[in-house]
Amino acid sequence: MKTLEEIENLSLEELEMKAAENAAPVPDGLERRLRQALAARELADAARPRPARWIPYASLAVAAAAAALVVLPQRGPKDTFDDPLLAYAEVEKAFQTISDKMSVGTDILRDAEQTAGMPYNTLNKIQK
């Protein structure tokens, strides 16, 4: 058994020789098993979802877009008419269009009322 002082005095080559003399036997297939374990680890790492780096940037972009929508003045469409009388005429026309379209529904309703009233009228005539 060498003392600590003797070991410290050994050169690097001597230390390597001593280590090679007392080398422990390598179990069979150790290298293959190590390779397999490393490969499996790499596969598992690849399959694991990683926190995406773009998420903070995307969040910032969304926040900026939201702020822009809220803060920046919204550009509205341009008025079709410069003259209020022409605009008034168009508004009146719009109400006329609404009424015309509404009358489609009321006409159907009127027809339905007439149809529904036919049996009643017939019964009345028979009774008379």
């Binding site: 008025d79 079709t80 605009a87 508004v91 109400f95 009424s99």
Partner: protein, 161 residues
């Protein structure tokens, strides 16, 4: 991090939903071919309201009480077959995503007319009409604070003309 993502997604959805309006639909389609578009701004409605003899015209139909409460009018009339379905879908998405209630629906000979209002018993804050006819889609959107009674009377009078 998940909470942040959910928060921003909700924020974005909220902004998108609120962004859907008559104005957006108007801006999207008003420049398309075979689309006639009319926009009357709140400022123009204020000017119309200042016309002194407004009550005189329109064959005894008094528009003034309603017009003075309006703040925006968007009209789109599309005869462009390539955008008609998209315009109709956008308009329906708009009324469905807002608090609009169906006022009337009529279907006759291939024509479908739907009218929606938003507001309460006394006031109409918005009116939308979507009319789909053969190759033609009409979208009318009125914004304002219209007294419901006045609006209904006006439409009834126009119908009797």
């Amino acid at each position: 991090m998940k909470h942040i993502i959910v928060f921003f997604a909700a924020l974005l959805l909220g902004i998108t939903a609120s962004a859907q309006s008559g104005k957006n639909i108007y801006q999207k389609y008003s420049d398309a071919e075979n689309v006639s578009a009319v926009y009357v701004s709140p400022a123009m409605f204020r000017m119309i309201g200042q016309i002194p003899d407004l009550e005189v015209g329109a064959d005894n139909v008094n528009l003034s009480s309603v017009i003075r409460t309006l703040s925006g009018l968007y009209i789109l009339n599309s005869e462009n077959a390539s955008i008609n379905s998209a315009l109709r879908a956008d308009a329906e998405r708009f009324v469905n995503s807002s608090r609009y209630e169906l006022l009337m629906e009529a279907k006759d000979s291939g024509q479908t007319v739907r009218m929606y209002t938003v507001g309460n018993d006394k006031t109409i804050e918005g009116f939308v009409m979507i009319s789909v006819d053969d190759g033609e889609v009409t979208f009318i959107c009125l914004d304002g604070q219209m007294p419901r009674k006045d609006f209904e009377e006006l439409v009834a009078k126009e119908m009797s003309k």
